[in-house]
């Protein structure tokens, strides 16, 4: 039985910490699906759930950051899987077929930040952003959106 740290650090580039004491595993964006497949294979689908997807716009570094907060139920511990994608072409693989719970988070992140999740058929604009902003193509949570 391998632990979370062992499984995740195999694919991680480096680790960080989000206060208070939540370990962050920074991974390459193309490894995202591999990480979740690995988690389901090792621990089973009943031992964790995907809690939150946080997208942050970092215009200074020309990057966007995506954090996947995964909560492990038996230990009661939250682990962060973090990845950086290019800001000018924000595309990442969707994990909706592996973890259906990503639906809400992915749709919202697409609406607010304009990150495209490749392979998610439910992405739609204009269901939360008012129509006038959609027509202008504005993603309100981007720092340069001006709303």
């Amino acid at each position: 039985m391998s632990t979370k740290a062992e499984v995740l650090s195999k694919l991680a580039i480096r680790t960080e910490v989000v206060k208070p004491k939540r370990i962050v595993f920074v991974i390459r964006p193309e490894d995202l699906r591999k990480v979740f497949e690995e988690l389901i294979k090792t621990f089973g689908p009943e031992s964790f759930y995907l809690s939150t997807i946080v997208g942050v716009d970092l215009p200074a570094e020309n990057k966007m950051r995506l954090d996947y907060y995964v909560h492990f139920i038996p230990e009661g511990e939250t682990v962060v899987i973090r990845t950086f994608i290019d800001r000018s072409n924000p595309v990442i693989d969707s994990i909706i077929d592996i973890v259906p719970g990503a639906l809400a988070g992915e749709c919202e992140t697409f609406d607010l930040l304009g990150i495209v999740f490749r392979g998610n058929p439910y992405l739609k604009r204009g269901f939360f952003v008012p129509v006038d902003l959609v027509q202008k193509g504005i993603h309100p949570l981007r720092k340069d959106s001006g709303v």
Partner: protein
């Protein structure tokens, strides 16, 4: 003139409320709900929650009006039979409250439809809501509140 009098009488005897949430935080909604419970019992005044728009006399609006809900609110108001009165409950419905500057909020209810009574509070107590409605009923009785649709003829 006589017809008009009769129409007001109907409202005076038993006004049915219609509650619409245009993007509230639920705080006002649960207080409107609390105001129709036995402790305050508004059925003493003949006030009852109407099951559908077509039966409503008084429209109670809670919440900051979001751009998406504004169209609905307008349509709802047009569907209501005359005479009709509008009550704005809570800071958000009156002026947008803390959300006034947001990109998806229009502002107060009075930017979309005419409002007869404002009930300030965040959220107002059930007593305040009842107080506002009773004040509206008194205004109708004294002829100070005029339903806006009457002017069209």
């Amino acid at each position: 003139m006589a017809v008009k009098e009769d129409r007001y009488k109907l409202v005076r005897y038993s006004p049915w409320l219609l509650h619409f949430n245009t993007g509230a935080c639920n705080g006002c909604d649960i207080e409107v709900l609390a105001a129709i419970t036995p402790l305050y019992d508004p059925e003493r005044f003949g006030i009852k929650l109407a099951p559908s728009v077509r039966h409503g006399d008084i429209l109670i609006v809670t919440g900051a009006v979001t751009k998406k809900a504004a169209e609905r609110l307008k349509r709802l108001y047009e569907q209501m039979p005359c005479p009709k009165f509008v009550v704005a409950v809570g800071a958000c419905a009156i002026s947008g409250g803390v959300f006034a500057k947001s990109y998806s909020v229009v502002g107060g209810v009075d930017k979309v439809i005419p409002v007869d009574v404002y009930i300030p509070g965040c959220p107002p107590r059930p007593e305040a809501i009842l107080d506002g409605i009773v004040k509206l009923l008194k205004m109708i009785e004294e002829g100070r509140a005029v339903s806006k649709c009457e002017h069209k003829g």
